[in-house]
Symmetry: C2
Subunit: 281 residues, 2 copies
């Protein structure tokens, strides 16, 4: 496992030269370390080409990193995707840090999704969920197994009890529909001059909740295999494909070209499509 | 249609003798009038027995009314259910007013759900949704047709922009899962002495939003029939059954006995089960 972890480090070190490390990114990278520590032995080395592992736009105002580690054949992990984006804008910068861990069709356990989007020094958006792979209204037993019994909702309550948080709703109704009923989807706004308050929240509440959700996922989902009929598995795979395609469409093809131009972003999106196992629409 | 409407009136008049009319109930009854005006010709007369049309508990501290009108055979309406509950509690009273309009299997269009729950003079919970009948993550085209194109989300935004509203989350993860991503699910709290502010909101914003959602449902869902394969229809019917059974379980079998005792509530729940077409669990 140390050999596997070492293979990811050069990429992250190279990127660190230009990629800023706001507190939220430190929290995310610590979680990624934990993922690699727990799952490293099940992951193949990163196979992302160098010009996608780190990329910049022509003007040098935007920098991104992407790491994708596929699961080994015997593992139920499909891939671990970790990405950081930093993009200067007229009044500051946007920093986005994401970790996605998707499972393959040997299990019906939820995927792990974490996304931090910081658009100003004192405010950010947090999305943190175990993405369901079945129609929850049709499968109350799935809700019970992965969401009720794991007490996932307590993590959401912990962050929503902060007076600085408000619900964040994606403008995409599809994205809202793909999330679980326990999804953390909040904006944290600490107001003018609230940079140090946000920092405190990020290292405190946010780190603890993100770690809590990841722990639940690692304990209840990561090692899971599920008995399914062929028909059930086919239905799940079909649903997964749609969720994967639509997420790329909504999240990336809509935004990345604006930040990095069409050449760089096509290259990056092609690599993400490969990880997701979906064709261009 | 006037004969049909007349048949519902004696029930409502009898109930009016004991059932209080807080502002939210007046708003709900006006909407019910609109439903009967638009759909009356497609509805059969009420067939609810007198002791369920109006019911009280032994101590006389709780009173309820229930009206169920089935759709005529050629109509896509399965039933219109309208209910009011009033229950004295140590520090006041709880008033619940609901309108549910469910469609049958000739269409995949969403059901209409409206529930007002007032637990104190200055605060209440509002749930208002077009309940999806398909797995939205699997059917982006369904989201587009019934939720995106109808601009339903604007109604939610209109009520959430009020400073007195906060998101309300059902403690049941199933109920949350059954709702659409545009569902209005808020508590409105006007604070100590805020009775007249709440009244203003109820007759203003709330009446307008509830009417807006009903209008969308009447225009885009009520008259709808849908081409479906046998397999698609079977899947939808199965999903519908689960949503219906679980709603009764979560909403009624958990709460009604506490208010009305087991005899009265069994009678009422049996009648609702009949409307919903589901057997006792």
């Amino acid at each position: 496992s140390s050999a596997v972890r070492a293979s990811a480090l050069p990429m992250r070190e190279a990127a660190a030269a230009r990629m800023p490390s706001p507190p939220h990114r430190e929290v995310a990278l610590a979680l990624a370390e934990e993922v690699y520590a727990r799952l490293g032995a099940q992951l193949l080395p990163s196979a992302v080409p160098a010009d996608v592992a780190e990329f910049v736009n022509g003007a040098g105002t935007a920098v991104g990193t992407l790491d994708v580690r596929r699961g080994a054949p015997a593992s139920s992990i499909d891939f671990v995707l970790q990405s950081s984006l930093h993009c200067k804008v007229p009044n500051g910068a946007i920093d986005i840090t994401s970790i996605l861990i998707f499972l393959d069709a040997s299990t019906d356990a939820p995927h792990f999704l974490m996304e931090f989007i910081q658009g100003s020094p004192a405010s950010m958006v947090v999305i943190l969920d175990l993405l369901p792979r079945k129609d929850l209204a049709l499968h109350p037993e799935y809700i019970e197994k992965y969401y009720q019994n794991t007490q996932l909702d307590k993590q959401r309550e912990k962050i929503e009890e902060l007076p600085q948080t408000r619900p964040y709703r994606s403008t995409s109704l599809f994205v809202r529909s793909a999330c679980s009923p326990t999804a953390v989807s909040v904006s944290i706004d600490c107001g003018q001059g609230g940079e140090s308050i946000l920092e405190e929240i990020v290292y405190g509440h946010l780190a603890s909740v993100a770690k809590g959700v990841l722990q639940i996922w690692l304990d209840s989902c990561a090692g899971n295999t599920s008995e399914m009929t062929e028909v059930e598995r086919d239905a799940m795979v079909k649903r997964d494909q749609i969720v994967r395609s639509k997420s790329i469409e909504v999240d990336l093809t809509a935004n990345l070209p604006r930040m990095f131009g069409s050449d760089v972003s096509s290259r990056v999106i092609a690599e993400i499509r490969k990880a997701f196992g979906v064709q261009e629409a």
